[in-house]
């Protein structure tokens, strides 16, 4: 048997990448938190922090095994939950996956699961019981993310012998999660917005972002963290990681320009919220494609995504679903654009690069399968949570503001004029 050794360069980059993807959680919390009204900032941010907490614990318990264990029956649908339960055999300093410590690979991939769940929360701003969200997050990660990540990210003979059907049998390209992360979260966001229904006054009263600087800061942190997400998905410190990093900047800058152009023509103003949204749309779209295209391909994908996502934000008002922070317009649409456009501009495989339509069809099947499974499964999970423990806060709580009603906190205390009096201190210690 050949000797397996750790590559220190790869390991160093993946340690850094893992830190970078963790930064995406507070980045997303700020991006979303700035976009809601002042009375629900904390709940919005808590949904991201809460998703990280519940999902990573489940990841250690059985999630990693469900994603990267041997495919049950070789069908490519789900990994063996018993193989790496509580990271059996892998949570030590000697175990290796690829060329890096198993511990680093496990931590890196676990954050992907958490981010995907956190992304969904944007569609249900201001109105979801926190406990119900946490229960949903755990069930959704288990029944939707872990299987889909197995389909897409589990390559044969990497962690286990047999992996998922999209990666190995279909051969659709998804480098860092256009399908497993963004289409998945986007479709789930749509389903959950339908289950919870509209906020009180949706479309009638103004629901303005309370802090655009927070939104800009969040988008910037997401962008920075995304270098770990995309370039880290090479699981190596090599040319693929370098290309992914370059394309992650190229596509994103192109998407900012096209989003702002759509706004200028449609609304008359280029806005900071548009720029921040363009950043995220570009990042989403290049996620599956960052290692499959050259720099001009990345610019094209970014430009198309920025424009199509910007044009999609109005759909919720036309169709009447309250996807509060546009998870559908940004993540579902952006994820589809990036995944499908590999079939057009992918190096060697794309239609425009002499690759025929073969890859395009594979990309469409992969995207469609994830979209359909996520949407239907989320409708069912969301409905069950709603019927059992109830998903929504009361209208009165919503009008008063979810932060005070559910968390007993306010985001901002800008004057010293409302001191009140002390009611008591928690006992103990």
């Amino acid at each position: 048997m050949e000797e397996v050794v750790i590559n220190t360069g790869d390991t160093a980059w993946m340690l850094i990448s893992t830190g970078l993807v963790v930064l995406m959680i507070p980045g997303l919390a700020l991006f979303y938190g700035g976009m809601v009204r002042v009375k629900s900032v904390l709940n919005m941010m808590m949904m991201s922090f809460g998703a990280l907490a519940i999902v990573f614990v489940l990841w250690i318990a059985f999630g990693f095994s469900m994603v990267f264990g041997d495919s049950v029956g070789g069908k490519g649908l789900i990994g063996d939950i018993g193989q790496f339960t509580f990271l059996n055999g892998l949570d030590n300093s000697a175990a290796i996956i690829g060329t890096i410590p198993a511990a680093v690979f496990i931590a890196f991939q676990g954050i992907f699961a958490a981010i995907t769940v956190a992304l969904i929360s944007g569609s249900i701003a201001d109105r979801a019981k926190f406990g119900a969200w946490m229960v949903f997050a755990g069930i959704w990660a288990t029944l939707v993310y872990f299987p889909v990540a197995h389909w897409v990210f589990a390559f044969d003979n990497f962690v286990a012998k047999t992996g998922g059907w999209i990666a190995n049998d279909l051969g659709a390209l998804d480098f860092a999660g256009g399908t497993a992360v963004h289409i998945n979260a986007g479709a789930a966001g749509l389903a959950l917005a339908l289950i919870l229904g509209k906020r009180v006054g949706f479309g009638k009263i103004p629901m303005r972002p309370h802090s655009l600087p927070l939104v800009m800061l969040g988008a910037a942190l997401l962008w920075f963290g995304w270098f770990g997400f995309n370039a880290g998905s090479a699981v190596a410190s090599n040319g693929t990681a370098g290309l992914a990093l370059l394309n992650t900047i190229g596509a994103t800058t192109a998407a900012v320009l096209s989003w702002l152009l759509v706004e200028k023509i449609r609304d008359g103003h280029a806005t900071s919220l548009g720029a921040a949204s363009g950043v995220v749309a570009g990042l989403v779209a290049i996620t599956p494609a960052c290692a499959a295209v050259n720099a001009s391909g990345a610019l094209i994908i970014g430009a198309v995504a920025g424009a199509l996502c910007a044009l999609s934000v109005g759909l919720k008002f036309k169709l009447g679903y309250d996807d509060s922070l546009d998870v559908v317009a940004v993540h579902l649409v952006g994820g589809i654009v990036g995944t499908i456009m590999i079939g057009f501009v992918g190096v060697d495989v794309g239609l425009f690069n002499g690759g025929g339509t073969g890859q395009l069809v594979k990309q469409a099947i992969g995207a469609g399968a994830v979209l359909a499974y996520s949407f239907i499964a989320t409708l069912i999970i969301g409905k069950i949570v709603d019927l059992t423990i109830g998903f929504r806060i009361t209208n009165d709580q919503e009008l008063a503001g979810i932060d005070v009603a559910i968390h007993a906190e306010r985001a901002y205390e800008l004057t010293d004029n409302s001191q009140g009096s002390v009611l008591g201190f928690s006992k103990g210690a």
């Binding site: 103004p206 303005r208 972002p209 706004e263 449609r266 609304d267 008359g268 103003h269 806005t271 919220l273 548009g274 949204s277 910007a310 934000v313 109005g314 008002f317 546009d326």
Partner: protein, 112 residues
């Protein structure tokens, strides 16, 4: 005694304050206010959703004066606050029964 209340364009506050100090006024209270009038608000747009905002930022300035000074102080405020365009604001006076200086307990004009 009279309470003079003035609603001003925020960027005019500095001019008005300087003019009042020049006229010998030694104290005033300023607060942020939002106003609605003929001036009309503005529109804002967030991801394509347009909103009109009709309450616009104003500053409320309050000065206590002796009856005999009221008219001249009002004139100082009006002159300094004016730009000649809609939305310059309002100035009004109200009679005041009593004023007390908290530190000394002085009452009436002595407390101003």
């Amino acid at each position: 005694m009279k309470l003079i209340t003035a609603i001003l364009k925020p960027f005019k506050l500095e001019d008005v304050k300087n003019a009042l100090q020049g006229a010998g006024i030694t104290g005033m209270t300023v607060s942020e206010a939002s106003g609605f009038g003929r001036q009309g608000g503005h529109t804002e747009v967030y991801r394509g959703a347009e909103y009109t905002v009709d309450l616009i930022p104003k500053v409320r300035l309050e000065v206590l004066v002796d009856d005999k000074d009221a008219d001249s102080v009002v004139d100082v405020i009006v002159k300094a606050a004016s730009t000649g365009s809609i939305g310059d604001g309002k100035v009004w006076t109200t009679p005041v029964d009593q004023v007390i200086r908290v530190r000394t307990g002085e009452r009436g004009v002595d407390a101003i």
